[in-house]
Symmetry: C2
């Protein structure tokens, strides 16, 4: 038996998530593999806002984590041993795995990655769940047309940076909403957003939206919800499309959040608001990965990662998501 670290859900957060909700333990590995199994070693571990929902007891679009059981999420891992005919040692795989340094998994639950096309960590970001979330939400739900105004909240996050850049590729006026001056500078100077609003320093969000969107809002890609979205909704155009991707401002709420009802604005403008999860589009994933990789190769898509180091950094990395600290995709290199 070899020993290795694993991180469990110790207790369910009631409000803001903290280090006290995680517990690191030593766990053992079986010394031999059964037919079809792999021993894999985590290389890159993703932390994502949706995981906060799984820490609560109530059912969301994914099952809650179990108390006393390991956290799980997107992980890129190296195959250390294989009893599965499709895999050999040295292969790199992507899967929804547990927060464990080394683990045994069935080969059927992971996908082998083609090495050399892009950095392996990209498969947790721009070529993985966040990138595909941006791609399908914006293009398949929002259907932006050249010249339209696209607003994206959480603009500097893993999804937001991809949404804004794809909208630029499609010929739209892109307005981002982000939470620090450094993020604003990055989005304007590096990613060429047309306007970016710092919601922390703006005292009048509706006025800021009105100024940044003189022709109104045709597509709103909503990663955050709450008062930022209330302000955007005041300026939507006829036939506007609101893509409700995440509601990060709500995930640590302990009660159903209240706000101005959006229905009247939807009726007045023949607009729609649609929620989704990236797996709704799973049959189109190959198309999305191919297009995103092509744009990266052509230099049309910039991509930035914040990589924290070491297995022990995982809880802090996750908590940091809700403090608005990361620019681009946040992940942990083991």
């Amino acid at each position: 038996m070899i020993m290795n670290k694993q991180i469990l859900l110790k207790s369910r957060p009631d409000g803001m998530v903290g280090r006290e909700h995680f517990e690191t333990v030593e766990t053992s590995l079986p010394v031999s593999l059964n037919e079809g199994e792999l021993l894999v070693k985590a290389l890159f571990v993703s932390v994502d806002p949706y995981m906060r929902g799984r820490m609560s007891a109530s059912k969301s679009y994914v099952q809650p984590y179990e108390l006393g059981k390991p956290i799980s999420g997107g992980i890129v891992a190296e195959v250390m041993g294989s009893k599965h005919s499709d895999f050999r040692s040295g292969d790199v795989v992507l899967g929804n795995l547990t927060w464990t340094e080394q683990q045994v998994v069935n080969g059927s639950v992971v996908t082998k990655l083609q090495q050399g096309l892009a950095p392996l960590s990209y498969y947790l970001g721009i070529l993985g769940m966040p990138g595909l979330t941006a791609y399908f939400g914006l293009l398949h739900i929002g259907e932006p047309k050249p010249g339209e105004t696209v607003v994206v909240s959480g603009a500097a996050g893993a999804v937001g940076v991809v949404v804004g850049q794809i909208a630029k590729i499609k010929g739209c006026r892109v307005v981002g909403i982000a939470g620090s001056d450094s993020k604003v500078a990055y989005l304007k100077n590096e990613l060429h957003f047309d306007e970016v609003i710092n919601y922390h320093t703006t005292t009048d969000m509706p006025a800021a939206i009105a100024k940044a969107c003189p022709d109104g809002v045709d597509v709103y890609y909503d990663n955050v919800g709450g008062e930022i979205s209330d302000a955007v909704l005041q300026y939507i155009n006829k036939f506007a499309r609101i893509i409700v991707c995440g509601q990060i401002s709500m995930y640590n709420s302990t009660e159903i959040p209240m706000g101005p009802r959006p229905q009247v604005a939807l009726v007045k403008n023949s607009a729609f608001m649609k929620g989704f999860i990236v797996s709704d589009f799973s049959e189109h994933f190959p198309e999305g990965v191919k297009q995103l990789a092509t744009w990266i190769g052509e230099g049309k898509l910039e991509y930035q990662e914040t990589i924290m180091k070491g297995f022990d950094a995982l809880p802090d990395a996750f908590i940091g998501l809700f403090r608005g600290e990361n620019t681009g995709k946040l992940l942990v290199e083991i």
Copy 2:
């Protein structure tokens, strides 16, 4: 010059609309017609909830009524004189006309109705705006499938009764929400809704929805908004479609109404909420009228009208809309 009655917007309601907001005046008619003009006499005048929005100063999807100017809306009228080659005396036309007993209009703003197919008043209801609103909202936005559960609020209203019956034609389980026991009885016994909830006597709406929709809600046709919709939203299924047609509970509000934010439910269920106005589908109107008339002819669509009598009844008829007094389409025969 001949004299005839006309009803003006006297003042803008701030809250509930009342008789004090209307003024009846005598107005004159020119004795001769210019080329292209018709003299028409109102036969049936429609009162509809959306008109409340036009009484306020703020722009909605239609322009506000002007103070001191006549109210306008859907009217079926008889041609009394014509200087337009497409019309002759005795023709019956449909148009958006002013609340005036007799008026001169350009022939280009009215549509000649085929007499004898259906009662003329039907063109203000099931074959007119409310019927087409039900038809396109339910079928083109909601896209109900056989076996799905369709919930409709304002179920006994002009739109609601058509929504529920089309959903039954499409093989759905239909649950109505209405405001009196007589409406409940009518919807269950005459229109064969599967379940109908009386929101006035139900003390726990969420529980009532849960009981009436054991398989959850796939399509919600929302005519009313507010707490009724909040309750329905708790039970939507994956990929649910919410058609936001009217928000009658909101029209007399003086401030932006607050409520639980629907976005989290939309994300959890990959659901959408879409507002619309019937004119969004104007290019498909002939298809809608033909299908509705066919269903009426086949006895598949029941239709009920509440007809008040006399030009002077117009303000009371309109105010009655917001008291939940009418079953089926409310209109005034002049």
